[in-house]
Amino acid sequence: MLASQIERRAVRVPEQARARRSPSWRHFWGVTAVEQIAKLVAVLTLAVAVLYVVGFTLWTTWISFTDSTLLPDYTLVGIKHYTRLLQTRIWQVAYVNLLIYGIGFMVFASAIGLLLAILIDQKVRAENLLRTIYLYPMALSFVVTGTVWGWLLNPGIGIQGFVRGLGWTAFRFDWLVDRDMAIYTVVIAAAWQATGFAMALFLAGLRSLDADLYKAAQIDGASPLRMYLRIMVPAMWPITIAVLVILLQFAIKTYELVRALTAGGPGIATTLPTTVVYDYMFQRGLMGAGSAAAVMLLLSLLVIVVPYAFYQRLSARRLTRHG
């Protein structure tokens, strides 16, 4: 036993560190005590996370099968809220809006972020300054973004008013008050905020690529465009996935941006599932229906994430098998 412990210590503790260590009678307990504390902290954090996320999700799911209104009531009544919600117009509008907004926001933000990252990667002067400027919108809260873009996109006092004032009186940019186009204004405001973040991640990915690939391609006579499209972008696939996942959870969480920008839109044109959940739970005092809406939102997220997790598992297993 003593031999294996010495072996363990020899593997874990390099020679120089051993000279600095505490008195010898603590060597045995020193290592394992630190380990135990680390394990304890990790377990505690995990327990709290499990309780809050999983535990309360299960509680909400239970409530969604009950008839709770102002206060929770634990008697089950079946899937009534789900069927009713699927037939309500506001939920259908909210869902379609989530698809439009989610896909638009993710594609827009990552495409422009990637473009900006590639441009900044060209060894421009003042690169730090530019990067800071592009990343700055992330420091704002969604409420501020929504309020300011609300002013900018207002037909009377914003961009349309300004351009018309310059002389082009037929200019129209009243998407904010047009019930078909209002959701795209939310896409614009959200993409403006998150593009810098996508850019920063993509830049890190670009910088981490092997310079030899570039050189080999240059020797073979590839133009810069071909180099980026054929080498860099495919090699950055893992970073792209990371960016998309983070943007996806931004999109699903969006509530205050819609509240500040359009307050639900002309009529109900920019409602999102999150606003419907809040509305049902807190404004209408229908806890059961609100919980059902929240659970449906979670399910739609799982529908994307679970197959992706399976795909990751499968490809990892394939690699180890063939590796």
């Binding site: 209104t69 102002l70 206060l71 009713r84 037939q87 309500t88 117009r89 506001i90 207002n154 037909p155 009377g156 009243d174 904010l176 008050v177 019930r179 359009t262 307050a263 639900g264 839109g265 002309p266 009529g267 109900i268 044109a269 509305d279 807190f282 404004q283 209408r284 005092g285 229908l286």
Partner: protein, 422 residues
């Protein structure tokens, strides 16, 4: 040594025991949505009256619409520490009294002879199973029409339109003169209110059957269709660039004559008074157009509900506050600042601090009570509880902002929403 210290302790306890009964220091904790402006001032005045009567006043306003205040209230109730009193109104008083115990005010009401001077509609709303649990604070007329004097002068009109036809004709003239006829912000409850006012103007009886009783036949009937048609005409006269903005944003422009009409509750006259605009000179005020000869009154009444508490200080404070709220002085002061009507029918409005708008509304109320045409406002959560109101509001706000929905389609959606929410 031990005996001596025991003796000292014993004497101290005896002295402490005889003076153990301490006078309760009355205080009251109130939450409401009235944080600023004329309404905030009115609550401060209420607080002054309560302080003068001997209770410490703690008012914690929650700014926003009523539902924001109700969220805070529910959180407090669930935490087991409800405020001693809170603002609440309409059918929510019935719903919320189920989730937390309330104070029975019957004895106080009887002692003050209050029930005799309150209209039965109001009394009914503030009683649960025949017992008083809340006191009405003020009454607002929702169906108030404000017209910009400058806009009226421009089209050569001197009096407010009395029927929908007159209103439509005046609005057309205003549109031709370059004035936006209807000043509307585009918030969901305001959209719903315009529908209420259209329907009341067509037939208050149909409103009662369709909106207050949710009768399906009435909802699919011709009066509701006529109301939708009138509402569609009015949406054509609203500025499309205004979406999601508070109605008060347009008051300065209304006074300048860029907008013609505003339909809003009586509190707007309080806001205008605070903004130093004068009745008769800057704006005209009266009832919204109605095709029915006898007066109609769309009622919105705010109430103060008292939550049961074990704290003797708060209990004493509740008694004092209730007595103040039932008094004439409170009625006068509160309504003068707010632009509302006193709930006591024996308060004279001859005081010059009252505006003509309020006297007009009070006369309107008396006439409507006599003609049995007092209805409860849907948009202001008086006619139905929050869930049903919100379901109807979704349909109406979409209708207002989407010109491609026909009146027939709008009516069908409203009736379907009511059927689903019932």
């Amino acid at each position: 040594m031990l005996n001596k210290s025991l003796l000292v302790i014993g004497v101290a306890c005896a002295i402490g025991g005889t003076s153990a009964y301490v006078e309760a220091e009355p205080r009251i904790s109130v939450i409401s949505q009235w944080s600023a402006g004329a309404e905030g001032d009115a609550m401060n005045a209420f607080g002054d009256l309560v302080t003068k009567a001997g209770a410490k006043w703690e008012h914690n306003p929650v700014s926003g619409f009523t539902t924001d205040m109700m969220n805070k209230l529910r959180a407090d109730i669930i935490a087991g520490k409800p405020p001693a009193a809170s603002q609440l109104k309409g059918p929510e008083i019935q719903a919320w009294s189920q989730i937390a115990p309330t104070v029975n005010l019957d004895a106080l009401v009887a002692a003050a002879g209050y029930e005799k001077v309150i209209s039965p509609e109001l009394a009914r709303l503030h009683k649960v199973q025949g017992h008083w649990v809340a006191l009405p604070l003020q009454v607002h007329r929702i169906n108030t029409l404000y017209a910009s004097k400058k806009a009226m002068d421009k089209i050569g009109a001197t009096t407010l339109p009395k029927t929908w036809d007159e209103f439509n004709a005046m609005a057309k003239k205003m549109a031709a003169a370059g004035i936006t006829p209807v000043a509307h912000g585009g918030i969901a409850w305001a959209d719903t209110m315009y529908f209420d006012l259209s329907l009341i103007g067509v037939s208050p009886d149909a409103y009662r059957r369709a909106i207050m009783n949710l009768d399906d036949k009435a909802l699919r009937g011709p009066e509701v269709l006529a109301a939708f048609k009138q509402l569609r005409q009015m949406t054509g006269w609203m500025s499309p660039a205004n979406a999601g903005q508070h109605w008060s944003v347009f008051l300065p422009a209304l006074m300048k004559g860029e907008y013609g009409f505003l339909m809003m509750g009586g509190w707007a006259s309080g806001v205008l008074k605070k903004g130093k605009f004068e009745e008769g000179k800057d704006y005209l005020c009266g009832a919204t157009p109605s095709n029915v000869a006898k007066p109609v009154f769309d009622l919105n009444a705010d109430g103060l509900i008292f939550w049961e508490t074990k704290n003797p200080d708060l209990q004493a404070g509740q008694k004092i506050t209730a007595q103040v709220a039932m008094g004439k002085e409170f009625n006068r002061v509160f309504t003068q600042i707010n632009g509302s009507i006193p709930v006591r029918t024996d308060v004279e409005l001859t005081d010059p601090a009252y505006q003509d708008c309020q006297r007009d509304a009070a006369a309107n109320l008396a006439g409507a009570v006599a003609a049995n045409q007092v209805v409860l406002s849907l948009a202001h959560n008086m006619a139905q509880n929050n869930a049903i109101t919100a379901a109807l509001r979704d349909v109406l706000t979409e209708y207002v902002h989407n010109n491609s929905i026909s009146p027939e389609e709008g009516q069908k959606r409203l009736a379907d929403a009511a059927a689903a929410a019932r």
